[in-house]
């Protein structure tokens, strides 16, 4: 039966129908309101009470609501005879509640009595459920009291009525919990309360310093190179430019990553130097080995990521490697070291700095399998001790030996014995920081057994004496003049030592480092100018006696019998850090870099 077929209806009915105000909305609203009111009042039934409240509510509400409310009895009576309700509409509506509303209220009161807490949620749920119950009240009837058994309308199962029990949508009864959920209506679901969205919390303005820093041109270039890394033609022939220089430029900024390191890879490479491999993780180092199989010489600085796995790939792939130089390979364990030695019997250069794991077994294996070692550096190796040195004695072909910076100094005897065994072939020796060495080392070790040394580093040896060093150099006829001497940070050495050195090696000495010789006098320093004709690099830091005149003498020579003689004509680099008597007025010469003049310290 459609609504179209109707008898004459009142203006009100027509108005509401047009406005689309339906029974559901009204009932729901009314039910909510009823509940609210009842919460405040005592839950006692009584038609008069609700009638009063209705009236009261009506007076406080806006007219819109009032009209809705007025309609409630009318609309709920729609299934009944429309005519009757219409006539009864105006006056009585205000006082009476319809049967349905009354029944609803009673049910709610009962529920309230049965409940412990009268929460809003329940009422809201009831608000959802109530309209359906009241509207379809004819079909389902009011909800049975909580706790009683009911039969489910769908599955016919017995279930306990709880406050969450939903009326079935078909209207024939109540649903057990499962069917209610299956039907899509979740009784537990609280009506979605629209979350009050807080205005997004003001994020602290964290100034992103990285972004603010203006990218340098070097950085921009590195980014570009990385971008075009695969386009070799685009980048041009790298061989033309200095590969090492590029490697240095990239390394300076820690810019060498696995993306752009391919720039240097080439199967035909026979030597490769990476000055900073910090950003190359272990797999990238494996790739290095695979891509550069024909390497004979490899140098990796800061290769902290080099671990056993990657190093084993080195052992197997880099078959023709003859020289390996590593700075910081602390992850490699003895087994990996040993494997490397066994696979490289032709190894000629083994230079590592900083490894706490390299132990006596490694050295033994090295000596055993690589007898042809010519260059050996075990610098800052934590475990180095006399036993190591004993092993090294076996390496007859050793030219370059660097055992400096140990954690504990080796004994003097051990070093002397070592020199006795291999000293004659050595051209470079570095025993710095073996603090146990005394003058006896000079006489019994160097003097007695070395004859071919060209470069000597004996820095940080506090036991050496001025006279001792001087005497040593005076007597060291068996050895030709040194080219490079580094005796820095031995602060007791002074005039005698310097004179001895210069008399012995002065004419061939190209690099001299006497940084820290604070007591050396100006006269001795002048001798450098007289005898050090080949001097290229000179480091005289903290030699207090140094002043402008000495520098002048070095650069320009001195007037002897009317002519300028002497001077270090070939000087390229002069370091005068900590020499406060050298002022900015000191003479300069084209081609000579003077570093460390204090008046120029800051910019």
């Amino acid at each position: 039966m459609s609504n179209n077929v109707r008898g004459p209806s009142s203006a009100l009915t027509e108005f509401l129908r047009d406005a689309g105000i339906t029974a559901t909305t009204i009932a729901r609203r009314a039910a909510t309101r009823t509940r609210e009111e009842q919460q405040q009042q005592q839950p006692e039934a009584g038609p008069s009470r609700p009638a009063n409240t209705n009236r009261r509510r009506r007076s406080t509400r806006a007219s819109g609501y009032a009209s809705d409310e007025l309609d409630e009895p009318e609309n709920s009576a729609v299934p009944e005879d429309a005519m009757q309700v219409d006539e009864a509409a105006s006056p009585t509506k205000k006082r009476k509640l319809t049967k349905a509303a009354e029944a609803k209220l009673k049910a709610q009161e009962k529920k309230k009595l049965g409940k412990k807490d009268g929460g809003d949620e329940d009422e809201e749920e009831d608000a959802y459920t109530a309209p359906s119950k009241s509207l379809w009240a004819t079909s389902a009837g009011p909800k049975p009291p909580v706790g009683s058994f009911e039969k489910c309308a769908i599955c016919e199962k017995q279930f306990t009525v709880t406050k969450y029990t939903m009326a079935s949508s078909s209207g024939s009864g109540f649903l057990c919990h499962q069917c209610a959920k299956a039907g899509g209506v979740d009784p537990f679901k609280k009506p979605a309360v629209p979350k009050k969205r807080k205005a997004p919390v003001e994020k602290r303005n964290i100034t992103k310093f990285e972004e603010k820093r203006f990218p340098t041109l070097v950085n921009i270039c590195i980014q570009l190179i990385t971008k075009h890394i695969n386009d070799i033609e685009v980048l041009g022939d790298i061989g033309v430019l200095n590969v090492e220089a590029i490697s240095k430029a990239l390394s300076k900024n820690r810019g060498l990553t696995q993306d752009n390191v391919h720039l240097f890879y080439n199967t035909s490479n026979d030597s490769l130097t990476l000055f900073d491999a910090t950003n190359l993780p272990s797999p990238a180092l494996e790739t290095l080995a695979y891509h550069n199989r024909n390497l004979t010489s490899l140098r990796l600085d800061f290769c902290g990521h080099l671990d056993d796995t990657a190093f084993n790939v080195f052992s197997t792939s880099l078959n023709v490697l003859e020289r390996i130089e590593l700075l910081g390979p602390f992850l490699i364990r003895p087994p990996a070291w040993k494997k490397f030695f066994t696979t490289h019997p032709n190894l000629e250069g083994f230079l590592v700095t900083q490894s706490p794991r390299f132990d006596i077994e490694c050295v033994t294996t090295l000596v055993e399998h690589c007898p042809g070692i010519k260059d050996l550096r075990l610098k800052e190796i934590g475990k180095i001790d006399d036993a190591f040195l004993e092993q090294i004695q076996e390496l007859g072909g050793l030219r370059h030996l660097d055992i400096s910076d140990p954690s504990h100094s080796c004994s003097e005897d051990a070093i002397v014995s070592l020199l006795a065994a291999i000293g004659s072939g050595l051209s470079y020796l570095n025993v710095s920081k073996h603090s146990a060495l005394t003058d006896a080392f000079l006489t019994d070790g160097l003097l007695a057994h070395t004859g071919n040394l060209a470069a000597l580093t004996i820095s940080y040896l506090p036991e050496l004496t001025d006279a001792g060093v001087g005497a040593f150099f005076d007597e060291w006829a068996s050895n030709g003049p040194l080219n490079i001497l580094d005796a820095s940070r031995n602060d007791v050495l002074g005039d005698l030592a310097l004179e001895g050195i210069l008399k012995h090696s002065g004419h061939k000495l190209m690099q001299l480092n006497i940084n820290g010789w604070k007591d050396v006098g100006a006269d001795a320093l002048n001798i450098i100018g007289r005898l050090g004709v080949e001097m290229r690099k000179l480091d005289v830091g903290f030699c207090r006696a140094l002043d402008d005149f000495v520098v002048k003498m070095w650069l320009e020579g001195e007037k002897k019998r009317g002519a300028q003689t002497g001077g270090c004509r070939a000087l390229e680099e002069l370091k005068v850090w900590g020499c406060n008597r050298v002022t900015s007025a000191c003479p300069r010469k084209k081609g000579v870099v003077i570093q460390g003049i204090e008046s120029q310290a800051s910019r």
């Binding site: 203006f214 990218p215 340098t216 041109l217 070097v218 921009i220 270039c221 590195i222 980014q223 570009l224 190179i225 075009h228 386009d231 685009v234 980048l235 041009g236 790298i238 430019l241 200095n242 220089a245 590029i246 240095k248 430029a249 990239l250 300076k252 900015s584 300069r588 120029q600 910019r603």
Partner: protein
């Protein structure tokens, strides 16, 4: 030093400096722009160093003309965006697009030397 007396009267003239390349190209730039490069700044510094470039205002850059041109371009780019205190992003990507990849390796070495 006698140079100090000259400096004030020269200050107008020395506002511009010349950067010369090896193949004969010359670039006149403002002193402030040229000092975006650390090396050039040291060359032009009249107090410390006492280099001839400080007097003449001419710096010889040992690079080809194309490279010097890109260096100058970067210097201008940098000086401009450092002074303009804008909250907009610096168009670095745009600048990157203007560098042809063929020269980027040379440019890297040059930039490294010039400390920029």
């Amino acid at each position: 030093m006698e140079r100090n007396g000259k400096a004030t009267s020269d200050s107008k003239e020395s506002q511009w400096v010349r950067l010369q390349s090896t193949d004969g190209f010359s670039y006149l730039v403002k002193r402030k722009v040229a000092e975006a490069s650390g090396t050039v700044r040291n060359m032009l510094d009249s107090e410390a160093g006492g280099y001839s470039e400080a007097l003449t205002g001419v710096c010889e850059i040992t690079e080809r003309g194309i490279i010097v041109e890109k260096l100058v371009e970067y210097m201008s780019f940098k000086t401009y965006y450092e002074t303009v205190n804008t909250k907009d992003d610096v168009p670095v990507k745009e600048f990157m697009e203007r560098i042809p990849p063929e020269i980027v390796l040379e440019l890297l070495l040059a930039a490294d030397y010039q400390e920029m």
